[in-house]
Symmetry: D3
């Protein structure tokens, strides 16, 4: 169960209206790595968790915080739009080129659809999608996904910080940067603990039977481009991070087979095949089939 | 530039037709974490790379291999569909319940749209989407995303392995498992090398000015659920993985502010406000505005 | 801010596994009118509200309850999947036709992607989309949207009730039916109160200046099909619900104008136009333009 | 069957080109609540209707009118684009800031893809989606959906009216406002008639057996936020709109159960569980299973 | 303007219920090449046409017919669903394996969402999308797109014909096959006429200035795969179909340049670059920038 | 298998940064008819081909070239973004209206998400979708689709050519125009060869049994609009392009049937039907059914 309190975690009021920045903020609200994504991702991971205790509590504990971050951003966006100009008139643009930037750069659905409110979309107006989230049931894989989500998210917030000089907005962003710092650290710590406690190991899944895997290909770097420098990396020689092998390097594939012959499906799919005079022949075949039905 | 060779990296022919498994294989071809995703993700990361040398060569080198994996799966799917039954007739189902399973479980677009061929979709028929990929320009974030993609991918291949007893299909899956083992190790090694060489560090981005971040919130675990076990984790006390702080634990938020007052946008958005008799008043205001235009 | 409590509002455990019904339940979790939709819709309406007080409190109060309903459904789905069969083998299907139904009717991504967990998708596997929700800033319009959402939702739950005989599942559905009854009533009551208090009226928006509307077309039923019975309805004669007019009936349009002439955009769009020998002429024109550049 | 006549229902020609407004008009052509939506929604409701007569005739009669509105908007958009500038040159922008607004604010696909023509997309370029429409077979629910669609649509047209001062465009919008007034009234009248005639009642579906519903929760307002004002509304006490109960108010839930224990699916999903030393144990289990296959 | 008549162009009633085939028919109603696509595609081409007369009349004339085909399919689907079983019970499946096929193979949203009605989706439940259609303003390109759409559509209808033995359904399909035959012929004839009359020619657009094109690459076949047989085709030697050149054949590219150096965007994007000790350096740079703001 | 070489097929460097044009170029990289589309479309057609030899070799040969074009465009876009301004400040816009155009007209995700890199999206930011491609197994249909794709693609490139005066960009576009010229010619030649060799004929599929088609409707133009000029076209009289019939012209349909009666599905779908006092009656029926369960 979820309970709501009519407070925000941090100050969230802009110094002045800025419809263009309101659009940009949508990215970290409703984009691929926005707050809706992490709120939903951690929630589904918690609901699909197979063990009680600290890992599931962690997921529940952060998921609810992220819902509050969605709220902080939505509130900020509505305030940035509150006094923004309604639309275009030729005269206004002639007088002030800033108006032209706003006209062009704002999310017009903020005005037409939401009446100066936030929306569940990214900065290009793509609606948030359930396909953004990851919840596999395997916590080592999912915590790695979470670490990535927090990295991408903090990167985007840092970029946005440099795109405004509004102190109110920057205050909110500096808070979100701090929480993303925490959450990156936390998922890294949690992934390490999973391994330390023997719950999961690497590569994921770590308990798939070794002899069912084509192990001769498990640690070889196969270079399918013509850049030579990839041979210099830590992935081309030496022990592997999973502690189970040695990296090798090969310029191109070490195995290959001829492509299998093309398929010949049922004639009633009317695919193109190599039967001479096939048009007439297939028509005959299909006719026979139809006559029998 | 890309060059194609009409060979496959590994044997890819099934023992018998299986339209239902063909549908399931679509997940690792065209799903969120399928081969199209990694092929495109590594390509875009390479094209957007800001440094020449081993990291970019690595991206190019693996991206092209993954395109070949798309091809292996597409070839296998076409073969699994080659002799599959066309559709439904009442009699056939009465005679053999397996037909019922096929009718229900296959991807009907395999038959209707592709004429027994592979498609750029996942196992539920959702078309592959450009929103599945990540390419931010920051390699530590992106390599973490890559590690996750290979983890999720190997997990799905392992599950699929247990959903078939066809030796031909299992051979292909055992090869893909091996390559996913390699690629998980490789991205882990590459992420470590980025840090060792001073290119990137953690948290991402590592060079955002510390004093612009609300550091007092950077290492505190805030528990927004009522599970108490989260306090026992490595993320609730002790040094942080980035080496810059100490985790603390708090039951709930350590800061809060009242929600700012609701916004009052321009009356011409016709939002609901608290002006008494607002219907008449706003009509008057808008009328005045229109009269002036 | 949101806080989570590790309890559910109502009993939610099935009597037996049922992967097919788990898929069907996804509709009311992640479909167009599922619980994610109402949770997000009421949240955005609250965040975009322009007045404090009872209407906004109502939105916040229900939004958080609906997040809990998402959780109840996700929990139930995970339980329905817990002991469900992993996949297909020919023998199993021959022995038991129920297996064939499960193979065909389950959401295969439940197994391959989520490892027997719930997902943010509908019953056909389409990911939840931000385009499902409505939050316009005008409360009378939005509360009508909310009433519709609860109607569609209760209708779907009622249908699902008849598709299972599992008492545990039915208990959950009977609870959801009750809450949908409440929420339908509530939005109807809230819409009526908005009008009674003079905040909004009908048609929405009620304060657009009358003289700017083509009022001669505001109350006429124009019949563009050849069914005659539409003339018998309450919408074809008598006073209008908004109390401002009288319905009239007309068989077809009461106004029409000739279609304006086709457009002739810039030749550099290379659209097809009616200039004789246009291929050569346009090539010349474009060449001239290019020469000048 | 549908027949087309090469006339429009109302004057639709702009006074001057305006590529930015052309983009904005796309919202009411191809957006969530645009004319394609209502044309398709009423059509599918008619095709799925279960009774002949006035309600179905009404649906057919309005659906065809709405297809004509799609046409009027498409025609207008093409005219707004007809003489609009092709693209950008630095000099032009320096001379006239209006050009900058156009460059930024137009839908660039209008130029690149459609050659100065209308498109089946919304004002942010999202393609129209079949997921926008509602057709459930239950007319009271669907007519409520229709009323909402006309409310949202008229609200958007009213907003657009204030974003242009072109008299030709405003004439078209004033006509659409009038038709939306009619259609709002009509769906309200039709919904009332359905109830008056005993076809449907409220809550939807009205004939689900009462004793199968958890009636003790059917009329209680449960406040999951901390705003106290929701208790003052008509939804917190007094008779309910469906005439079957009395509203009650409760601060928080009136029922709750502990969350059920986490699920433990088949080991071959490789989810994270709490078995000590699980990595080794599961590997053994899976190996046994594989050996038996 | 569009007018509707309550008749169908052809008999459309099935002999018996078939929920699985109802799902399959959705492909040609709401799929990529279904009837909604052609109805909308021809409509937008007509609205965006730049010349009056026979070509635009043709587009309007066929577009309206295709809307009627949408209606015929929707009507048929509703009838196929009319008596189909509601859902699943264990007993029913045990008694009759056909039920298992229906459970698995039907579109469950037909039941849950539409109450046994048609939907604007394809046979996998993907909603129809505005991105399916093509309307460029260039009629030769668009008529080629139309010819393809009718080819793909007729191919799908032919496949569906073999997936049912219901005479009522087959009658409808035989009619649709005939109309697709007509429309394929028609668009081929119309494309030829456009060229014969000098409106358009080939390659599209035919009037782009030749000297602005890198003509040395306009007729060379460059073989980027290692199959040798492509050299035997009509595209590898001899005159080109546009009558303006001679095909040549080359094994691989005839031109190449080194990849340009990687980009170095602004440091405030925090991309990974090759500056030694970049983490510290960039932090300093960004700090300086921030201090100046 | 695919191999990558770190070269480009043609010079691809702009003279100056241009973030607005970078956005526009995304259309031909990741749009409906961009290079990702043709690369994937030709690949899937090759993988699903049913005959070895020249046609399949052709598909493989071009598919790989198109992947290289994706790379050329991605590289160019990254360069156009390299020195583009980061975002907005009020002062900058006041000083230089060009900045306003850039602010408004750029793809903001280029900056926020990709850090000045290319993305797999179109010029409005819609992610590339697997639903863009066509691969049916029937080569005549698919080669017609390919010809259309190259026509639309070349048309878009030609339009883009006129939207920039940057010589570096224009050089790349002139190369792409040349390759599109080649590919249009090639698919036309290949389609002709398929017919000449008896592999396929027209209408597609050409071997569906004639007597199963309602041949009386196969060559009649039915005019569903009121424009009379369509009767003047080559599609209204004379021999048909498939050589099998004569076109005829009819003003409106030549056949019609009454719409079948509305369907009456199971009462447990709670659709609206015409039973008098249905609310009570259906409640009783459903109650009986439930009692029996």
């Amino acid at each position: 169960m979820y309970f709501h309190r009519q407070e925000l975690q941090f100050t969230s009021s802009p110094s002045k209206p800025d419809a263009v920045f309101a659009r940009k903020l949508q990215e970290v609200l409703g984009g691929q790595y926005g707050e809706i994504t992490v709120a939903m991702q951690y929630s589904f991971q918690a609901w699909n968790a197979h063990i009680p205790g600290k890992y599931r509590d962690l997921l529940f504990g952060i998921a609810a915080e992220e819902m509050g971050h969605v709220e902080m951003l939505a509130t900020m966006i509505a305030q940035l739009l509150e006094k923004a100009p309604l639309g275009i008139t030729g005269d206004a643009v002639q007088d002030d080129p800033t108006v032209a930037a706003v006209i062009g750069g704002m999310d017009v659905q903020h005005a037409i659809v939401a009446g100066a409110g936030a929306r569940p979309v990214d900065s290009n107006g793509n609606p948030w999608s359930g396909s953004y989230i990851t919840a596999s049931g395997n916590m080592l894989a999912d915590f790695t996904s979470n670490a990535n989500a927090e990295m991408q998210g903090r990167l985007q917030v840092a970029r946005l910080y440099h795109m405004t000089d509004d102190h109110g907005v920057r205050d909110l962003l500096s808070f979100l940067l701090a929480r993303d710092t925490m959450h990156q650290n936390q998922w890294m710590a949690a992934a390490a603990e999973l391994r330390a406690e023997g719950h999961e190991d690497f590569p994921v899944p770590s308990n798939f039977p070794l002899k069912k895997e084509a192990r001769e290909h498990s640690y070889e770097y196969l270079n399918f481009s013509d850049g030579k420098a990839a041979a210099e990396g830590a992935w081309a020689s030496g022990p592997t991070p999973d502690g189970k092998g040695e990296f090798s390097y090969s310029d191109g594939p070490t195995s290959s087979v001829p492509m299998p012959p093309p398929t010949h499906p049922d004639a009633r799919y009317y695919g193109t095949t190599d039967v001479p005079n096939r048009v007439e022949k297939i028509a005959g075949t299909v006719q026979d089939m139809l006559n029998k039905e």
